[in-house]
Symmetry: C2
Subunit: 253 residues, 2 copies
């Protein structure tokens, strides 16, 4: 069994009226979650807040002391509704300053583009005093790290590029391993069995996720653990007991 | 101009390890947001929390006093990881009881299905003492209303059916009207113009949502107001000023 290691945790704040109005379907929660898992960090809470300074400050200061890392997405563009940088500076009680390296990056990025560098575009060089930059390989304007707060873009492919730039650069533990057992059974048919198998395997959690596909009820039973051997052993026992109970196991995708 | 009416607000708690692990991409935030908007209720905050009693209790008690309505999705199935009902009962300080009507619904639903009604399935008749049911036209097990907390299923099409059953049944104000102006412009080119138009139109907010499609940069400028006339008038001014600035306006989908 693996040695018990420190657990690293994170929270995420998704900033944007467009998510709360239902105009835009969020794509960042899942990708930040998966990326954190790969770094061995557990995402424990997400909040979605409006483009509102008080809401952002309150969420940032509620979450940053409780986690190793806090990520935010959204609100770092050039327009009047982009208030994330100012809000996070306010949360830390520091002024907003122009980051010289960010300014240089933006000047270079816009040099050969129509209009060149403008006051609006230079807004994207503003950071809370004391912050560092997160590289943005896709679209010029960098992300920002302030203390344990990682400020990413809201556009999913830009956020993704910033995460990639951070790959392996922040400390984490062991990635959580998950093994999926897919069964053609209503989850209510095997609820007691699931609980019994979980209880027999400390250090493992089993999630049950029902689905309905092509006229058939089924469920994915997801065995999760930080210990890969333990997860596999538990999944093996689960498969065996399900089959013994007459449940058909199918290949999970 | 419409009379200033009371503003109705809501929060949403998405409950589930599968969202926080990135295994499942959430579909409920957007559909709850759009449905609330149709009821004239503003979604002001969303939290995603783990299948963990303390996390659920804390989020429920933090959010329910601050909003007219609190919605939750997830964790009301028959398996051991479905702890939403117990957690919300705990948040209200009441016991969990079997709701006789829910029991009757489940018995009828499972009468002609394999295995019939089982102890696991009867778990779905449990509610916090004092709660009422929310009809579930799709899959038997009902949703639950406890005070101002509306407890919905996590499976998106079941949550959708429960929302439909609540259509027009809870009090709200005027739906927020939004008018989208789509432009072939980098948002940073028109940031000052946007801010000026918003400042000229109190009661209106303009969001700017950049996109990159088929090699072209563009942005959707979304004009939002509770007053439809005001939203349309502001969008008209915005279109005119954008065109005067040489920006190409395209038909939004």
């Amino acid at each position: 069994m693996a040695a018990k290691s420190r657990i690293w945790t994170a929270a995420l704040i998704v900033i944007g009226d467009e998510i709360l109005s239902g105009r835009t379907e969020d794509r960042n929660i899942a990708q930040v979650a998966r990326w954190l898992n790969d770094q061995g960090i557990r995402l424990l809470e997400v909040r979605v807040v409006a483009d509102d300074t008080n809401a952002i400050v309150e969420a940032v200061n509620a979450l940053r002391p409780d986690h190793d890392y806090l990520f935010t997405t959204g609100g770092i563009g050039p327009t009047h509704d982009d208030i994330t940088i100012d809000s996070i500076a306010s949360a830390f009680g520091v002024p907003v300053v122009v980051h010289p390296e960010a300014r240089r990056i933006l000047e270079a990025y816009y040099r050969d583009r129509p209009l060149g560098i403008t006051e609006a575009r230079l807004r994207m060089a503003r950071v809370p005093a004391g912050a560092e930059l997160i590289p943005n390989p896709t679209s010029g304007a960098p992300g920002v790290r302030m203390g344990n707060v990682y400020i990413l873009a809201g556009i999913p492919n830009v956020a993704k590029a910033m995460l990639k730039a951070l790959d392996g650069k922040i400390e984490g533990g062991e990635p959580m391993v998950s093994v999926t057992v897919r069964a053609h059974a209503a989850e209510s048919d095997v609820a007691e069995l699931l609980k019994a198998v979980q209880d027999e395997h400390p250090g493992v959690s089993i999630g049950s996720y029902p689905f309905y596909l092509q006229g058939n009820y089924g469920a994915d039973f997801v065995v999760r653990s930080e210990d890969e051997k333990l997860a596999n052993a538990c999944a093996k026992v689960l498969r065996k007991k399900l089959m013994a109970a007459g449940v058909e196991i199918v290949e999970a995708e």
